[in-house]
Amino acid sequence: MNEKSPPLPKAQVGKSHLNWLLWLIPVAAALVCAWFLAQDFIFAGPTITIYFENADGLQEQNSLVEYRGVKVGEVGTLKLSNDRQRVAVKAQLDASAANLARQGSVFWIVRPQVKLGALSGLQTIVSGNYITVEPGNGLRTNQFIGVETAPIKPVQALDIQLHAPKLGSLQPLSPVFYKEIQVGEVLDCRLGDDAREVVIHARIREEYAPLVRMNSKFWNAGGINIHIGLFSGANISAESAETLISGGIEFATPPDFQNTATNGTVFSLNEKSEDEWEKWSPAISLHAVPEAVINKPPAADLRNLRSGFTP
């Protein structure tokens, strides 16, 4: 070494990084995977099986389960049941909708429907059919029998029976009018036990229930009435454009009205009204029903809303 050369600088020695910290990277990756798995298996809602007679329009891994217009689950697989009578639709509900999987819940498939006087489910022409539900309050369960058509929403109402010689153009959900205001609807129509009469099951919403008295008169308001008389000329009348198509029932209560009708009261359904009935206009207090009888649905309560769905 040359003695004249200046001394070389000396490299510094510093502290090393903690290289065990590097192992936190795979640990973090494993945690991410664990989080994915937890979301799939622990925080997921229940998987339910719904048996439909016909799953027309549902697609595996694609169709949705909706409730009140909101997605609450997804359809998984569609399989034929063992007896080949039904289609088993497996659906994965969201965790927030776990409460829908209860006994008494009624599932049906919303399809486009074009019937006389009723168009429904038109959005499904574009979006595909989906499953929807009317929740029940029973115990938790994972197996359901689906129905074919939307059940008529139960409300507090007075149920009555009407006996008619023939059906006319009535069908489920045909309206029941009082002074041309809809106060109820037809629930179902069937042939009487001895096949001599048609039995129509209808309901009057509870706020209008006092209008129905034991001596009220019911008549079929559907179709057109054409009356041609020698002196009065031609007289054409129809209740409304709606009843013209879908049929309807109208009733009137005489001024000397009797007691209010009770559930299951049987009336006869006349084919057309008499002029006298349409002139009846008795004063009936609609608030005569004692408050205790009225069973109102609970009002929205923020405490219930926060904790997810409550049936």
Partner: protein
């Protein structure tokens, strides 16, 4: 024992003491690290590769995108995408997708793990070199993954027609891309032929 070392950044020739364990040597002038072999190369490559291997699983199992179009609800994983390309008779693009987004990341990750784990065994030197050659060949193709991400981004741009959510798969896939990149960067290929005596320096 003292040695003369030239800094790789500024070129200053300086004396270096034998550094105690768990310490780093810094240049007297520019304070950059001076190393004989890349610092912690083995541990870093191993940790990044293991993390990438773990995330490789969800990136292939979970959907890349979830698209909602007028109530239709479509989820696609990488494999389903490749499958549908094949069923559309797009064999070239389909196989390109398969090689670049499924095969090469997997091979590369496994190869890096194999190399880092077998470094202590001199008999495996030949196999290590062979694996490293394969990694060098497939490495440029790996960069196509980034294009896959670009395709995903362009699908998200569809937002006005359809609602497109990036799925869990795409996050894991992005993480795999970044982690394999870091693993390759921190790997010092000189480790391949180092004898155990040389690695102690």
């Amino acid at each position: 024992m003292e040695k003369l070392v030239a800094c790789q950044t500024c070129g200053l020739v300086q004396e270096v003491d034998v550094a105690p364990k768990d310490s780093v040597i810094k240049c007297a002038r520019c304070h950059f690290q001076i190393f004989h072999r890349r610092v912690d190369s083995r541990v870093r490559t191993l940790t990044f590769s293991v993390a990438a291997l773990i995330l490789y699983i969800p990136s292939n199992l979970y959907p890349i995108v979830t698209a909602e179009y007028q109530g239709h609800h479509i989820q696609t994983t990488i494999f389903q995408g490749i499958h549908s390309l094949f069923s559309l008779h797009q064999y070239f693009i389909g196989s390109l997708m398969f090689f670049t987004s499924m095969l090469t990341p997997g091979l590369k990750i496994i190869g890096l793990i194999f190399i880092t784990l077998t470094l202590d065994w001199p008999h495996w030197k030949k196999a290590r070199t062979w694996v490293f050659k394969i990694i060098r060949i497939i490495d440029p193709w790996n960069m196509l993954e980034v294009f896959l991400l670009a395709i995903c981004v362009s699908m998200v741009e569809l937002g006005e027609v359809a609602t497109v959510h990036p799925g869990r798969g795409v996050f894991s896939f992005a993480a795999v891309v970044v982690l394999t990149l870091l693993a390759t960067l921190s790997f010092d290929s000189r480790l391949l032929w180092d004898s155990s005596a040389e690695r102690k320096l």
